[in-house]
């Protein structure tokens, strides 16, 4: 007798509540391949979990951003935000596309030099630059963004003994009508701190004030906040020109553009509601062009966006370890990827799809990582099909921050693989081993025998 096709037995409670006003798409097709390369093949070859980056998406997204701004404003320059993802291969793709480097520490600065970036095209942000960092940046003629007065005085002191006049900008914080107002970086616009810093810089005669910078926040969902920021910096630049009779060479609006991820607590999915590059470009360009800036000598517009450029290019592929029911009957799945690799799961409800075809029945599910820690929750609630141990899953839009803020905690960090434009795979960061973890440990002699 021929056996019939098996289907898992299912019972589902019929809910009769009112449907929401908006339909929410929670079902996705399986992600069996990325850029034409089978996900299963990548996991077989490089292990599970594994980070996967799409060079095609990186370059396409960059070009889309550049087009959005350069079609609206005549002078635009992107600077790759190293902290977002400073894997050398990733940085070099952006540098090939014409990005400068934006760094926030001596370590990142050295990494930019290591990636063959011209020192004059490195923007040095951050509140914690050391004297050694500043001297190096001055020697390389980099753009130094001053965060506080102590740094300003230190720079004036160093410049006094240097043959080179450091090129500096001040970092300005301001009220752009959004909450929270970031005021811990730089000098405040409204209370006069920014003008105080500008007067000290110009008055010293030892520094060249080349630019004005602001970074209003992160994952900003209101493009108009950038319009407010651009207007205030343009006003500052105009008044500097009036008072000191020289032109500011650039206005740097930092980063903070939202990616397509869905913030926790958001009612609608990120791709449906988050602003696009065109939205941000329209707000910023219009504000600058409509300001009192001299239209025949407009400053360069610098953008340090990171997240929105790389998030979509990154995937984290992993496997199901086990299925289990919680005490209340809710289904849970344990994955081999946890919050130690996926820091952004604290911020986002990541889109997660199976890596193979799956049965139609879905169930509200908690996705846990493999860590023996209660906080290791990858998704608190997701409508997810029944998968078996060993089945693959793909977490989407993980390109930003995860490969810099990840932790070697309980498990080791996996390989990062780049799919190039021809579909070839390249390991761009190797997985850790016990050797790499204990490499820097030193056991005193008296503890060597146990």
């Amino acid at each position: 007798m021929t056996k019939q096709i098996y289907e898992r037995p299912i019972i589902r409670k019929l809910e009769t509540g009112m449907p929401g006003k908006f339909g929410m798409r929670t079902e996705y097709p399986p992600t069996t391949q990325i850029d034409g390369v089978p996900v299963k093949k990548i996991m077989e070859q490089y292990g599970s979990p594994v980070f996967i980056l799409s060079e095609d998406t990186i370059r396409t997204t960059f070009k889309r951003a550049q087009r959005a701004f350069s079609t609206r404003y005549p002078k635009v320059q992107f600077a790759w935000s190293y902290k977002t993802n400073y894997l050398d291969a990733v940085c070099r793709i952006y540098h090939q596309e014409g990005s400068w480097a934006e760094v926030v520490s001596g370590f990142e600065y050295d990494k930019a030099l290591h990636n063959d970036v011209d020192g004059r095209k490195i923007i040095f942000n951050g509140p914690g630059k050391s004297e050694e960092d500043l001297k190096k940046a001055i020697d390389n003629d980099s753009l130094i963004h001053i965060d506080h007065l102590d740094e300003l005085y230190l720079l004036i002191g160093i410049a006094g003994n240097s043959s080179r006049k450091p090129r500096v900008a001040i970092r300005v914080n301001m009220d752009t009508g959004i909450y929270p107002q970031w005021d811990r970086f730089g000098f405040n616009y409204e209370n006069g701190q920014a003008w105080d810093a500008i007067n000290k810089i110009v008055g010293s005669g030892k520094l060249e004030l080349t630019g004005l910078h602001t970074h209003i926040g992160t994952f900003i969902l209101t493009p108009n906040a950038y319009a407010v920021a651009a207007t205030k910096l343009a006003e500052l630049a105009t008044e500097i020109s009036n008072k000191f009779n020289f032109s500011i060479k650039y206005i740097d609006l930092g980063g903070g553009f939202a990616s397509r991820n869905t913030l926790k607590g958001s009612y609608l999915p990120g791709p449906d509601v988050n602003p696009t590059f065109d939205d941000y470009a329209e707000a910023i360009s219009s504000a600058l062009l409509n300001s009192r800036l001299d239209s025949s000598n407009l400053p360069l517009l610098i953008l340090e966006t990171g997240r929105a450029l790389i998030d979509d290019a990154g995937y984290l592929a992993g496997s199901v370890v086990a299925n289990k029911r919680l005490s209340g009957g809710k289904k849970s799945v344990i994955l081999d990827l946890g919050v130690n690799l996926l820091f952004t799961s604290f911020w986002y409800d990541h889109k997660i799809t199976p890596a193979q075809s799956f049965p139609l029945h879905r169930e509200d599910t908690v996705l846990y990582g493999p860590l023996c820690m209660n906080i290791d929750v990858v998704r608190e609630n997701i409508s997810f099909p029944q998968l078996n141990a060993g089945d693959g899953v793909v977490v989407h839009s993980v390109g930003a921050y995860n490969m810099t803020q990840w932790m070697q905690f309980i498990t080791m960090r996996p390989k990062v693989v780049l799919i190039d434009l021809k579909g070839n795979l390249h390991v761009i960061r190797n997985n850790e081993s016990l050797g790499t973890v204990i490499e820097n440990e030193i056991v005193p002699d008296y503890l060597k025998s146990v």
Partner: protein, 89 residues
């Protein structure tokens, strides 16, 4: 292996629609789930049900056993099983 018992007041239609008059809640089951409920009503224990399903359908016994265990767990979770049933005996 345990024997479970569906509560006697649960109404079950041939199309896989369950109604619990005590709570007013409704449920739907797929055909294989309906078949398992019928076997439970016949008094079969989980081992017997597992053997019957494995013989009839293309699946490994271990998968059927795991799915059956989860299904019975959900019946219990939805309070469709008799309180006196469902314990190991």
């Amino acid at each position: 292996m345990s024997t479970v018992k569906i509560q006697s007041n649960i109404a079950i239609s041939d199309s896989g629609f369950l109604f619990n008059p005590a709570t007013g809640e409704s449920y739907s089951v797929n055909p294989i789930g309906l078949e398992i409920i019928a076997l439970i009503r016949e008094g079969k224990n989980e081992t017997e049900i597992c053997n019957i399903i494995s013989q009839k359908y293309k699946s490994e016994q271990v998968i059927v056993e795991r799915d059956l265990h989860d299904f019975v767990h959900m019946l219990r979770q939805y309070q469709l099983l008799d309180n006196n049933g469902g314990q190991n005996n």
